[in-house]
Amino acid sequence: MIIDLFIQFIQMLAVLLLAPLLTGLVRWVKARLLRRRGASIFQPYRDLVRLMHKEVVLADNASWLFRAAPYLIFATTWVAASLVPTFATGLIFSWAADLIVIVALLGSARFFLTLAGLDVGTSFGGLGSSREVMIASLAEPALIMVVFTVAMIAGSTQLSTVSVFMLSPEVGLRVSLGLALVALIIVALAENSRIPVDNPSTHLELTMVHEAMILEYSGRHLAVLEIASSLNLLLYVSLISSIFFPWGLANANAAPAELFTGFIFYVGKLVVSGCLLAVFETSIAKMRVFRVPQFIGTALMMALLAALLMFVTRSL
């Protein structure tokens, strides 16, 4: 019991600490790929600390919602992230929420983000929010469909159970798994506002989505939002890895050694995926906002196809 609690706690802490690192890594690799020297991978931590100590400049008609939103967003994202097994399965609170809940938690984070974007009443905020909900309205169903597929295969929506099942030999190689993986990656790109859907490192109005929403934020609020977004990235990476690449996942009540190896594995996965992401982002161009729907729509279609395949082929 105590161990379980401890492990849960460790995980929550781990994701919180590792998240900025992942972001920093991605930025660094991208910089290197562009033949730039690039900031150190620990730069995000410094930024956060600096932001935290700055004073907050609130727009005149910002409401209480504007001030509460960052913390709510952070909290929901963090809770979601801490429910995804990173290096050990069988988390004590895993039964409190299954995959669908995780999706919904991210949904509520997004909901408050869009509201925050609308709150000050600037044109950019509205622009960001409206585009965000458009993207989400396609990405979320796709995610749910992926969840369906996975749940069909593993016979459960509990993430721990799923990853344990994925470790077991009877998974086999399935078409629908492949489809679901691709769909999930596309959704992940969209939800983390990465290229080609959005560009986190620009303030060019034509391309902004995520940045436009948090344009009015400053100081600690901005810091919290930054942590939340890097948590989001981490969450998706660990989600993908724990479903499709669950190798090295330790069991919760395993020996410390196993846990440690599991942790090493996990960090390894983070590094690999971070590099892959950077390579991907540098190798393709940002697409126009109104081609995004087709892009995510394909994800939805693939996920739906995967789910249909599962529903038909299951119990045959």
Binding site: L72, A96, A97, G107, F111, V120, G126, A136
Partner: protein, 671 residues
């Protein structure tokens, strides 16, 4: 003193209010009197039915009055199903009365509302209580009639007359279809008692016809696509607490009608019924929310959302039918529980939202979101309540809307147990529709709340709005609390629904009360489980913790300044996103086919200073393709036939001669 008698006591009180309201219409105290009394009566009734539902749900007490059909009498019955829906009805009624006590003050002609308000409550109660076809239909149509009168209470406003007309016409259509359905079930013997209908067996074909008729009848009242057209016209037209009743409660009474007939009276279902219901449900959900996204009239938006939620409920019902038809009773119970849970939830947050809209209406006199904005500063409590409602209806944890949707997803996930291929193909597609509608709902309420309450005021009225009175706020806060409770303690609700599922599909979900930490477990722990309480606690603690830590270790300094807006701040409020522009991306994705959206941008000629203009054209294809043709056909036919009414006497005589000769020939040939 059985609950049923208490119930009838309350109904009697409400009925007695009607003449009072008419006779004392001159006095100012009457509106308070009526609302207070109806509040007390409804809450008493609520207590009675809750007592029945929680203490002895299995036994059904019935009552017969020497009214209605002479040789049949009026039968009333209180079983678990009716108790559940009565709880929904009377909860809504009580809250509406409370809200009305405050809201009614601003009413210029209360005599057009009060008598019908109480009768409306009575009618809805009677529908749920009725235990024979005649009483059922009488109360059903009476319910429509009284609500029609309420829709017309502001009959001088443009469009309300038409709204009322379309509404009552559709209601008549529904009643007649139900009448046919009951006629088929009663058979040649004309046994109109529900007990006898339960006993009777129908041939599969006839049962299918009855299902179709019930879908037409109950569905048209619930607002399934494409029979929903009256709903977004009528619901917003009524005063807001009536809108809340119509949207939050009356549609549920329609759902009750469907459940009562299809699950209870009609006997064992055939599997293909579920196909029909599922398809209708999925389409209704998505189309409803898409329509809602296109609205910028706050109340109409809410009305269209009712359509969406009805779709979700029908998805649950369809799944329940599918499972029951294949003898998977436990799973049927799961699906049915999901549907009923959503019935409860929707009645909660939809009433809440309509109350909020009503508050905005009283404070600003505006329903058009394009003229609102920034109300969160002027009316913070209303804003908070509306926010909670929005989160709940967008199916976001930890509020109640999510739980029922989660249960529906679980039911979809286990539908691989179904033997029929077509169902296995259909269900995930419906699941996708459900997920899509959920996401769109979130988008829609981000828009509804964001444009109405956030940003800067878009009109004088909005900038001068004041918080509404305490009673209205009280009514809203009650629902806020209920939404939260139903969200974090779903287990109790599920257990309360269990008797219904036992009654209807004789199966029930595992008892949730025993689960540790108030978790809910649809089938078994390893499959899936959800704990609203833990999620809630986690979110709250981590949020407050982080806030606390940051404020403690880092800065807490705050400075107010003009908005930055990328360096181009603009004082004019017109630069904000409007409801229309917020929905534009989604419109461009989904709207092109369903609404035939056409956007034309007229740029001013070179060098001229006038602004560029964009015109947006949208069409309601469902109306244009389905109802307008019928309208036209009737008009054309009657115009054509009307020519025959202005002939010369000679021609009429010819008519007589011809018909005489014709009939004589018939007789001649008959021999």
């Amino acid at each position: 003193m059985t609950p049923l008698l208490v119930l009838f006591g309350c109904l009697g009180t409400l009925l007695a209010l009607m003449p009072v309201a008419i006779l004392c219409r001159r006095f100012s105290f009457v509106s308070q009197l009526v609302y207070v009394t109806s509040l007390m009566a409804s809450s008493t009734a609520l207590g009675a039915v809750l007592f029945h539902l929680l203490i002895n749900p299995t036994l059904a007490s019935s009552l017969q009055l020497p009214l209605g059909l002479p040789w049949l009498g009026a039968h009333f019955r209180l079983d678990a199903l009716s108790a559940f829906f009565l709880a929904v009805v009377n909860l809504g009624g009580a809250a509406a009365s409370l809200y009305g006590m405050g809201y009614g003050r601003h009413e210029e002609s209360p005599e057009r509302i009060l008598p019908f308000f109480v009768m409306f409550l009575v009618a809805m109660n009677l529908v749920v209580l009725a235990d024979d076809a005649f009483t059922f239909l009488l109360s059903w149509e009476f319910m429509s009639l009284t609500s029609w009168a309420l829709v017309l209470s502001h009959h001088r406003q443009r469009g309300n007359l038409r709204a009322g007309y379309v509404y009552l016409l559709m209601a008549g259509f529904g009643t007649l279809s139900l009448l046919l359905a009951f006629g088929l079930m009663a058979g040649s013997g004309g046994e109109f008692g529900f007990a006898m209908m339960r006993a009777g067996e129908l041939s599969p074909g006839l049962a299918g016809v009855v299902l179709a008729l019930t879908l037409l009848g109950a569905g048209s009242k619930a607002g399934i696509v494409p029979l929903h057209v009256w709903l977004p016209l009528a619901h917003p037209a009524a005063p807001s607490h009536i809108s809340a009743l119509m949207s939050g409660v009356m549609t549920k009474v329609a759902i009750y009608g469907f459940i009562r007939i299809v699950f209870d009276l009609l006997g064992s279902p055939a599997w293909w019924w579920s196909m029909v219901v599922l398809v209708i449900g999925g389409l209704t959900a998505v189309i409803g929310v898409l329509y809602a996204l296109m609205q910028h009239d706050l109340k109409r938006l809410l009305a269209y959302h009712t359509v969406e939620n009805i779709g979700i409920i029908f998805i649950g019902l369809g799944l329940a039918l599918a499972f029951e038809a294949n003898g998977l009773n436990a799973l049927a119970a799961l699906a049915l529980t999901a549907a009923l849970f959503h019935v409860l939830n929707h009645s909660l947050f939809k009433s809440l939202l309509f109350f909020g809209a009503g508050a905005v209406l009283t404070a600003t006199g505006e329903r058009d979101m394009e003229r609102l904005g920034g109300l969160i500063h002027r009316m913070p409590l209303t804003a908070f309540a509306f926010l909670v409602g929005s989160v709940a209806i967008s199916a976001l944890p930890p509020l109640n809307g999510f739980v029922s949707e989660w249960l529906t997803f679980q039911a979809i996930l286990v539908s691989t147990e179904l033997p029929q291929w077509s169902l296995r193909l259909l269900v995930p597609a419906v699941g996708a529709l459900l997920a899509l509608s959920a996401a769109l709902a979130a988008a829609c309420f981000a828009k509804a709340f964001g444009i109405t309450f956030l940003g800067r005021a878009r009109s004088q009225a909005a900038s001068l709005a004041n918080e509404v009175d305490r009673l209205s706020l009280g009514a809203m806060l009650i629902f806020v609390v209920l939404c939260l409770l139903a969200g974090i303690f779903p287990g109790y609700v599920i257990d309360a629904i269990a008797p219904l599922t036992r009654l209807l599909v004789d199966g029930n979900m595992p008892v949730q009360a025993g689960e540790a930490w108030l978790t809910i477990v649809p089938i078994k722990q390893s499959l899936s489980s959800y704990n609203g309480l833990i999620v809630m606690v986690f979110i709250v603690t981590s949020a407050s913790l982080s806030a606390f830590v940051i404020h403690r270790i880092a800065s807490r300094k705050t400075r107010r300044a003009p908005a930055w807006d990328c360096g181009f701040p603009d004082s004019s409020t017109n630069t904000q996103y409007t409801a229309g522009s917020f929905a534009q991306p989604i419109r461009s994705v989904f709207g092109s086919s369903l609404f035939q959206v056409r956007e034309e941008i007229h740029m001013p000629p070179q060098g001229s200073t006038e602004p560029a203009r964009m015109t947006l054209r949208m069409r309601d294809l469902i109306w244009e393709k389905l109802f307008a043709p019928i309208e036209g056909l009737v008009a054309a036919t009657s115009a054509r036939l009307n020519q025959s009414q202005f002939l010369t006497i000679r021609k009429y005589l010819t008519l007589v001669l011809v018909s005489l000769v014709f009939m004589l020939m018939v007789v001649a040939l008959w021999r």
